[in-house]
Point group: C2
Chain length 253, copies 2
């Protein structure tokens, strides 16, 4: 049996507001969860400022290395929205006003104050050769060029663009996961985790400690693309926790 | 007058749980906000899996490019905690058991179930030549080696390690910022933002749109290291918003 192909993606988050700490990023987790369902593994994330050189360098590093590159941020109407120019530069293509994007924006703004102003028309600019990603929420579309997918910075708009792409990208087997957790110090179960993972080659076990209400706990996540092996590994882990006399909760705490 | 030196940092977030979407990262915003106060600019963030090659490559790319590199995650007691080994490999130094870290852990675990087990002793391992970063919360220290600072993945522990480092790193002038916001479409003010920024060379203006309760709004953030120029730029921006008949709230909405 040939090993199934693994599809990998990177995410480039573009925006000063994340790097200043002003805005808490929500797109990493959103894109990560969505990719899991598509059978695509998010393998690397980078966050860079609204800076032409930084964006160009990251786009070229990531689009050549992974099957897919997603970007969020910098495709709005204001002066600090330079992602289209930067991606076009990275791809060595000119920026054009995309006729279909222009039509969408003309329709969207036709009854709105000021209509399709120059600033709004900026949102119809794409690297030449791009297709659009539908955005039912606020008109301005996302942009696809080859394996590069440009999406909004506002998480609710990004969600709509991801919904438009659902099921349309080639992926592999989705990674399945199961979790148990408890008020367990991970140092108590380190040997158990290591041995259990070793005995189940096609599974990975992650250990995620936390402190809550002044107490120490951890969740243990088993991941595999094979349902039967995942369940066998989780059963072995639970038997091991029983053997150590530790209480745990399926699904995690 | 010589331009003041700008100190720049990168953050490397290490952990499968962020890339799977299971855990929402909170360290990026936390480290970013802390660095601002230290007068250090967070310039790039990368997120990689608990994978030796990926960590080594990112550590070497980032530590050579920026004044400081911070890492979070992968310094606990379990088999998937490989950050110490990876950073040591990146620095081409061996991993040792740090005598002072060992003493801290012996003290911390002396009255606890099982005492200092082999698994717990893993948390005393450091790249050779490292200093420790104090962690009053859970004993196991962070690690400093040259310009690389290794911290925990659990945000509340990272917070304690950052507190231990406060005021100890050389930085430049902190970036100051002021915000106004309103139920304003950013496309209505794109020209105003561009012109205002152009007229105030030492300031940057960021525009951060959002959708809430079915309405469109935006916050506008002016940043500068110079208090007087920041205030002049903000005054000009507010005068411009007044001129357009737009209502806004100081501090943002």
């Amino acid at each position: 049996m040939t090993a199934p192909r693994i599809y990998r993606a990177a995410l480039l988050v573009i925006g000063d507001e994340i790097l200043s700490g002003r805005t808490h990023d929500r797109n990493i987790a959103q894109v990560a969860s969505w990719l899991q369902v598509q059978g695509i593994r998010l393998t690397e994330v980078r966050v860079v400022a609204d800076d032409m050189d930084a964006i160009v360098e990251a786009v070229n590093a990531l689009r050549t290395r992974y099957d897919y590159l997603f970007t969020t941020g910098g495709i709005g109407p204001t002066h600090d929205d330079i992602s289209v120019d930067a991606v076009a530069a990275a791809l060595s293509v000119p920026v054009i006003v995309h006729p279909q994007a222009r039509a969408i924006l003309e329709h969207y703004y036709k009854d709105k104050d000021g209509g399709l102003t120059d600033a709004r028309l900026r949102m119809a600019r794409t690297p030449e050769g791009a297709d659009l990603i539908e955005n039912p929420m606020s008109g301005a579309p996302g942009i696809r060029h080859g394996n590069v997918f440009m999406m909004a910075g506002v998480p609710s708009i990004t969600a709509q663009m991801l919904a438009s792409l659902t099921g349309k990208l080639e992926g592999g087997l989705p990674v399945l996961s199961e979790t148990v957790g408890g008020w367990i110090k991970e140092s108590e179960v380190a040997d158990l985790l290591r041995q259990t993972e070793k005995a189940h080659e096609s599974c990975q076990i992650g250990s995620y400690p936390f402190f809550r209400e002044g107490r120490t706990g951890a969740n243990f996540v088993v991941r595999s693309t094979d349902r039967a092996e995942l369940e066998a590994c989780m059963a072995a882990l639970c038997a091991g926790l029983d053997g150590l006399g530790l209480e745990y909760t399926p699904g995690g705490i």
